[in-house]
């Protein structure tokens, strides 16, 4: 029997057939690239270029704003025309650097050839430095700066690298296609990160609905000592960091602790591909593979998109917004965000997909009273009681919510997905996470005084 995580989980229809096995196509360059300063968790990057500066592909535009932060590089060549706010996908102003594109000149240090470079003579700390300087963040969705994960806090030691090739979000196929087309680069990326961490074991977790990727990665991994592929039973949210560690090595991250507690470091396949390019090819993170898909999209597929490309151009590339579209989602349907602005919102490290949902699939029936069926408890992969947390939030009982472990919630949406009464359970839980998080920070600040 195939492994999976032990508590909860749901089985949404995967809908991957629209874009599965579509070769990665390079999206055309935009006329103007708009590079967001905050494309990661942590402090926003600070601009180091001024209006009027000429930049090339790979030029550093903004340096990291702290340890938990990441630098941002130019994805195009041209001239910086302004540093100003751009409206993001939700219509909220976000600081960005605007570059008028001229040609496609790359920094000469970047190796653009397709030749595989297997060997790496760098010391672990130099590998990590290169990863940090290249602005690499977790491309699975959270965008947590990768170098931070590679430097465990004192007293903690990594034992195993877990590679996330799960792609459990419905519709998404970008990681799948990347494994098929760039498996060798990913394997080299794995070896680099293993060296950086000082571990001799890596496990690539891939869900069983991608048999070709499993087979391909298995044949590549068999040549590398210590690297193995684990075919996992299909279940959402297996791509969640904690669920994947559980599925691969059977250890569970304790409540409130970091994943390193289990000795595991998790990186997404796309992140490891970026690590390969950064360390072996000197190429900073300036583009990513995005799935652009939906039931009625004319040209669904997997596209290599330079950051800063406005959404409008991506929409045009796939044949425009399909008739009858009700909702456009940045990311997958379980955890992605609805967009109200599909014009200026620029592609960025966080945007793994654009998903067009037909209007008739967007509306939900009116919520009815909870019938206490306990399906939300059975679905919750963290072993929480969503019905109870949601009720406590309504009564603003934040202390009680903390006792019932609201901070363990990973926002996966399994409870809402499964609720037969269509109750918006996560609304209250998210509010509670905000309130309880603030309470915890206040307590910690008070304890320090």
């Amino acid at each position: 029997m195939k492994n999976t995580f032990c508590i909860g989980g749901v089985h949404p229809h995967d809908n991957k057939s629209y874009s599965a096995h579509k070769a990665i196509v390079e999206a055309p360059l935009p006329k103007q690239a708009v590079i967001l300063l905050s494309q990661h968790i942590g402090a926003p990057a600070q601009p180091v270029v001024a209006v009027g500066d000429k930049v090339q592909v790979g030029t550093l535009l903004a340096k990291a704003g702290g340890f938990v932060s990441a630098p941002v590089h130019s994805s195009v060549s041209g001239k910086v025309v302004k540093i100003d706010n751009v409206l993001d996908g939700q219509g909220v102003p976000a600081p960005a650097i605007f570059i008028d594109v001229e040609g496609d000149e790359w920094l000469p240090t970047i190796d653009r050839s397709k030749t595989l470079i297997h060997e790496c003579a760098l010391e672990p700390k130099d590998i990590i430095q290169k990863i940090q300087d290249a602005g690499i963040v977790g491309l699975g969705g959270a965008c947590f700066p990768t170098h931070v994960k590679l430097m465990p806090p004192p007293g903690k030691k990594a034992e195993v690298l877990i590679v996330n090739g799960v792609e459990c979000e419905p519709y998404l196929t970008n990681d799948h296609q990347l494994m098929l087309e760039h498996g060798e680069e990913i394997i080299i990326g794995i070896k680099l990160v293993m060296k950086a961490l000082g571990v001799n074991r890596a496990i690539i977790g891939i869900e069983a609905n991608k048999p070709d990727a499993i087979e391909h990665m298995q044949s590549l991994a068999s040549k590398v000592l210590g690297v193995e592929v684990r075919a996992l039973k299909v279940k959402y949210p297996q791509g969640g960091e904690k669920q994947l560690i559980d599925a691969c090595i059977g250890r569970q991250v304790p409540s409130g602790a970091l994943p390193i507690e289990t000795g595991a470091v998790v990186d997404n396949v796309a992140t490891l591909y970026a690590v390969y390019e950064a360390v072996q090819k000197n190429k900073p993170l300036i583009s990513r593979v995005m799935t652009i898909t939906g039931k009625n999209v004319q040209k669904p597929g997997n596209y290599l998109v330079r950051f800063g490309t406005p959404t409008a151009q991506l929409v045009e590339m796939v044949g425009g917004v399909p008739a009858g579209t009700g909702e456009v989602i940045a990311g997958g349907p379980m955890m992605g965000r609805s967009m109200s602005n599909i014009e200026t919102m620029p592609a960025n490290k966080r945007m793994s997909a654009l998903l067009f949902m037909p209007e008739n699939e967007c509306y939900r029936p009116q919520p009815s009273p909870c019938i206490r069926c306990a399906k939300c408890i059975d679905a919750c992969p963290m072993g929480l009681e969503p019905y109870l947390l949601s009720r406590l939030a309504k009564g603003e009982e934040w202390e009680e919510m903390e006792k019932h472990r609201v901070m363990d919630c990973i926002d996966c949406g399994s409870c809402v997905f499964t609720c037969p009464a269509h109750r918006p359970l996560l609304d209250g839980i998210r509010a509670g996470k905000g309130k309880v998080g603030a309470m915890i920070r206040e307590r910690q600040a008070a304890a320090k005084k």
């Binding site: 508590i7 749901v10 949404p12 939700q90 419905p170 559980d246 059977g250 569970q252 991250v253 304790p254 409540s255 602790a257 917004v321 579209t325 009700g326 909702e327 989602i329 349907p333 379980m334 955890m335 992605g336 965000r337 609805s338 967009m339 109200s340 599909i342 949902m357 209007e359 967007c362 509306y363 939900r364 029936p365 009815s368 009273p369 909870c370 019938i371 206490r372 069926c373 306990a374 399906k375 408890i377 059975d378 919750c380 963290m382 072993g383 929480l384 009681e385 019905y387 019932h404 472990r405 363990d408 949406g413 809402v416 997905f417 609720c419 037969p420 269509h422 996560l426 609304d427 998210r430």
Partner: protein
């Protein structure tokens, strides 16, 4: 282009509905209901029809005229309550008694608490126990299973296996063992009793269907049945085989109906795995205490209602949390 909709994630849904869950429970009851029609003929159909109609109508009237809500009878919960109550009644119960039971079940058992999801006690059992206390003679006069020959108005009546078992355990007089129906009949449904207690096999089929379709989990039925079996084994009277005694205890009375369909009612049962197991074991203990020492031959309704009251307490038992599972 048209304005885009925006909503919080997740943007897809399993498609499960309250109505679908209720419908599945109704479907799961159909085999047992079919057997009751075979056993008691038209009288079973009439009783069920009265109960379903009365429950739906009561809910509709109360929510529309007393609570001022949009009636939600399409969720099928009132249909299910009606059918379940009918399954708990003797088929020859006078129609007006059944009607009163239904009005009480929905009115007091469900709507007085605020409607679906709010009630503390199982509405069908509230109705049944109300009838049992109000009309004890009619509620304990069981028609003999004679198929379509059973008359609704003037049925031949007889005692149920539980009556004999009670007598045996109370007096130690095992001569009554001969009076018990053949075990095959008890299992397949050719014995006296209420509509839903005659065929253990059909009820078990329905239960397996509900567990396989994940409408209910195994915890409550299995823990009730296991507890009753264990206690029956311990309490087997002298002169009777343990297997025989256990089998009759499990297949007679409302045990299977209660364990599979009544105790698993979503609204009035605990929500976490251990809560369900404790609830099931406690029901098993209470029902055997009543059966062995109580004045009624059957105690399933009382056992479930007593444990309904403890559910808020059992809900304080947390589910298995992530990070607290023993390391492999």
């Amino acid at each position: 282009m048209a304005q885009l909709l925006t909503s919080a994630a997740p943007h897809v849904h399993s498609g499960d509905t309250v109505q679908k869950n209720m419908l599945f429970v109704i479907l799961a009851l159909l085999p047992a209901f079919a057997v009751s029609i075979i056993a008691f003929g038209w009288s079973a159909l009439i009783t069920a029809a009265i109960c379903i109609a009365a429950c739906v109508l009561t809910e509709w009237c109360i929510s529309k005229y007393m609570l001022g809500q949009q009636p939600s009878i399409t969720d099928l919960s009132a249909v299910l309550t009606g059918l379940l109550l009918a399954m708990n009644l003797p088929s020859n119960l006078p129609w007006w008694m059944a009607l009163i039971g239904c009005i009480f079940a929905i009115g007091v058992g469900k709507m007085a608490f605020g409607g679906i999801g709010q009630n503390l006690f199982n509405p069908a059992l509230v109705g049944r126990v109300f009838l049992l206390i109000s009309f004890p003679a009619a509620m304990t006069t069981w028609p003999v299973a004679k198929g379509f020959a059973t008359s609704y108005l003037d049925a031949e009546t007889g005692a149920t296996p539980l009556y004999y078992l009670k007598h045996i355990t109370k007096t130690g007089d095992v001569s009554f063992v001969d009076q018990l129906p053949a075990f095959k009949d008890a299992f397949l449904g050719m014995m006296g009793g209420s509509l839903g207690e005659v065929c253990a096999l059909a009820l078990i089929i329905g239960g397996i269907f509900l567990i396989c379709t994940r409408v209910i989990s195994w915890h409550i039925p299995v823990s009730i049945i296991a507890t009753v079996a264990l206690l029956a084994w311990i309490a087997t009277p002298e002169g009777m085989g343990a297997h025989e005694f256990i089998a009759y205890q499990l297949c007679s009375g409302g045990l299977m109906l209660g364990a599979i369909f009544m105790a698993t009612d979503y609204v009035t049962s605990p929500m976490t795995a251990w809560g369900k197991i404790i609830y099931g074991v406690a029901i098993g203990v209470v029902v055997m205490v009543i059966r062995l020492w109580g004045s009624y031959p059957e105690g399933m309704s009382f056992a479930i209602l007593i444990m309904n009251a403890v559910v808020p307490l059992l809900d304080r038992i947390a589910p298995k949390r992530f990070g607290e599972v023993a390391k492999k």
